[in-house]
Subunit: 399 residues, 2 copies
């Protein structure tokens, strides 16, 4: 029998308890032993919950109970969640978390600690919610040099963009209704400014390239600047606007890594991912393009990923799952500003001035003052802006 | 150091050798030890190959070499491939195969033998080529009751259907050009009649439900009967025609399992999978719908999946990967003929006779004699046909 403890009985934590109970037969088929939730740690009591009798308030009970093999961290944030994760690993427990902020900020330290202790530290649910993507990337695609990862990593922003594109509405109006429907949080900053997607692409890049990159080091542009005119340009080009977290190897073998809205042709698989769904495209030098699609958030999808990790911990009790990465030197990552990308540029400049400033461009059909550039760096665009060249918006374009 | 032997130096086998060599650094990051191809077994010699010096003709050299941990079976078919797989397992080797015919016909026996020997028998490449799907299904989604799997499992037929839909061409013409381009085999029977897809959905169902179902027991209809009129009907309904292998749990908890062309709405993710690509939708009771997309065949994509399995064998040298299933009683599977599905029916019968025969139907806009039925069994359609009711074609429709 494997005993687990759940820390934090909110949406994800209660989902984990529910999945472990409801699907105990499916789980047992893989673990070959029953899995039991022994404790639920929370500051609150839940007298009306089926699991109310499992609730405890003192972490040291979990820490000191040798029967607990796996601790599931669903507290969120980097405060007590970090403290308890450290202490659980030090106490010889495996830890599973859905907490992307924790992994993106402290993954390096926690993985090193897990390795030292010979324990598992797994976090499938931190990227793509229920979609199995981290373990497939790390193990199933182990025979590949990963050339690129490009993902729709945030359901809230994809929902907002889908609505702006379908209904031709303004960002602010869609956001307001998304909040009313519960698809966006009361404080949507982390989502709409791309910070949530940034944490996730940092985790994906760390797994793909073996180097921890911190979110603060990563160029991150969200969707608050997207205007209906940008949507109209995308439409005229047969493209969609999507917020991507993207990482790839440059020709020099350095890591490029950033979050930005992009234009992408309608016939690409990522273009057809709508609403709150997430999808992650992974390109390897052997497998070519693969894509993983599903629900990137929500109680049960996230719990599905957490329970998959719990099963993996139980199967790898003696020999840990080596999902590790190293501290980088800082030299591995190429600055976003120097990457040469194609851009959709909207400008008030005269056509002649555009070619002089940006080099050869293609005019967007039927959209005055809108062009697609050849490969140009953001540094160059910033320089033009400083010199007084009009740039109303600039969005990278993928082929 | 881990030594492997490759049996069969055709497309997949040579791809495996190439991937192991080219991507040795990525592989070593996961295995934590170097992986070396020690032997290549083939009846032929390859004096001009980089790997020519590794070629042997006698299987017993592999069988008797204690240094060989993993044997990669890329011979194909169920003749020597079966014999050598058995003997490799009996000799205490792990076996990795890309051979779906072998797994669909003999998986039960070989898994039992692997279990008995405490060895791994892995076959990720047998379904979906390079797409990681079997291991995610078995382990990442272990916390789910799998409710349905529906997949585009054959690239040749998806290519033919894509061409028929895009260019309005006849099946025979597209097949001929696909053969010229190398997208279809000289003898395309297994592909176009759905047999290849059938083997794959049998493997997926076995993993999802734990029961071996043999291809001969499974209703299998390919795409040779699809006419431009069917494509026109799909178009009028805002749908695509796709060949799906499909398995799901019925309300009574039985397993439904079959291969057939289907109509599917354009806005479903599976509808936008075009050309030679494969995609597998898995629906679990916690995760909801997830989809796995990529190249379902080809030298390097298939080799990518094989090498992922080799890595897993090395990581699970002491404790085997338990991907096992049981013999069924035959009672678990519900006959296709009794399933109640919605159908696109094309008929020469008068409108009045249609409603009398099929119950309430929806006429397909602008397509004379074409209707979408409510839930009706194939047994019922067969009975109507026998009684002389005109049915030109009948294709299941998914919502």
């Amino acid at each position: 029998m494997a005993n687990i403890a759940i820390m934090g009985f909110g949406t994800v934590g209660s989902g984990v308890a529910e999945v472990v109970h409801t699907n105990q037969d499916s789980i047992r088929r893989r673990t070959l032993e029953p899995v039991t939730v022994k404790y639920i740690l929370d500051t609150r009591d839940f007298p009306n919950s089926t699991y109310g009798h499992l609730v405890i308030h003192d972490f040291s009970i979990i820490e000191q109970d040798p029967e607990i093999q796996v601790v599931v961290e669903c507290i969120g944030g980097c405060g007590v969640a970090l403290d308890f994760t450290r202490r659980a690993l030090l106490a010889g427990k495996d830890v599973v978390t859905s907490n992307k902020a924790l992994v993106a900020a402290h993954g390096l330290e926690l993985l090193a600690l897990a390795k030292e202790q010979g324990r598992n530290f797994l976090f499938e649910a931190s990227v793509g919610g229920g979609i199995p993507v981290l373990r497939p990337l790390a193990f199933c695609l182990a025979g590949n040099r990963i050339e690129e990862i490009c993902g729709i990593l945030n359901g809230t922003t994809n929902y907002i963009l889908t609505k702006m594109i379908r209904d031709g509405e303004q960002f602010d109006d869609v956001l307001k209704r998304a909040q009313e429907k519960g698809y966006a949080e009361a404080d949507p900053t982390d989502d709409v400014e791309g910070k949530d997607a940034c944490r996730k692409i940092c985790i994906l890049a760390a797994l793909a390239y073996g180097i921890h990159v911190y979110p603060e080091q990563v160029y991150t542009c969200g969707i608050t600047g997207i205007r209906p005119q940008d949507v109209a340009c995308a439409d005229a080009l047969g493209m969609q606007i999507k917020l991507f977290g993207r990482t790839f190897l440059t020709e020099e073998g350095k890591i490029a890594l950033y979050v930005s809205p992009h234009l992408i042709p309608n016939d690409k698989p990522l273009a057809s991912v709508e609403g709150v769904f997430n999808a992650i495209m992974i390109r390897g030098n052997a497998v070519g393009e693969t894509m993983f699609y599903g629900r990137g958030a929500g109680k049960l999808p996230t719990a599905s990923a957490v329970v998959g990790d719990v099963v993996d911990c139980i199967l790898h009790r003696e020999k840990r799952r080596a999902i590790d990465w190293e501290a980088g030197s800082g030299e591995e990552v190429v600055p976003f500003e120097s990457l040469e990308l194609r851009w959709l540029v909207r400008t008030e400049a005269a056509a002649g001035a555009v070619a002089a400033a940006l080099g050869p461009v293609e005019a967007v059909p039927g959209q005055n003052g809108a062009y697609v550039t050849g490969p140009v760096s953001k540094a160059k665009l910033d320089e033009l802006r400083e010199k007084g060249f009009s740039i109303l918006s600039a969005i990278p374009v993928l082929d």
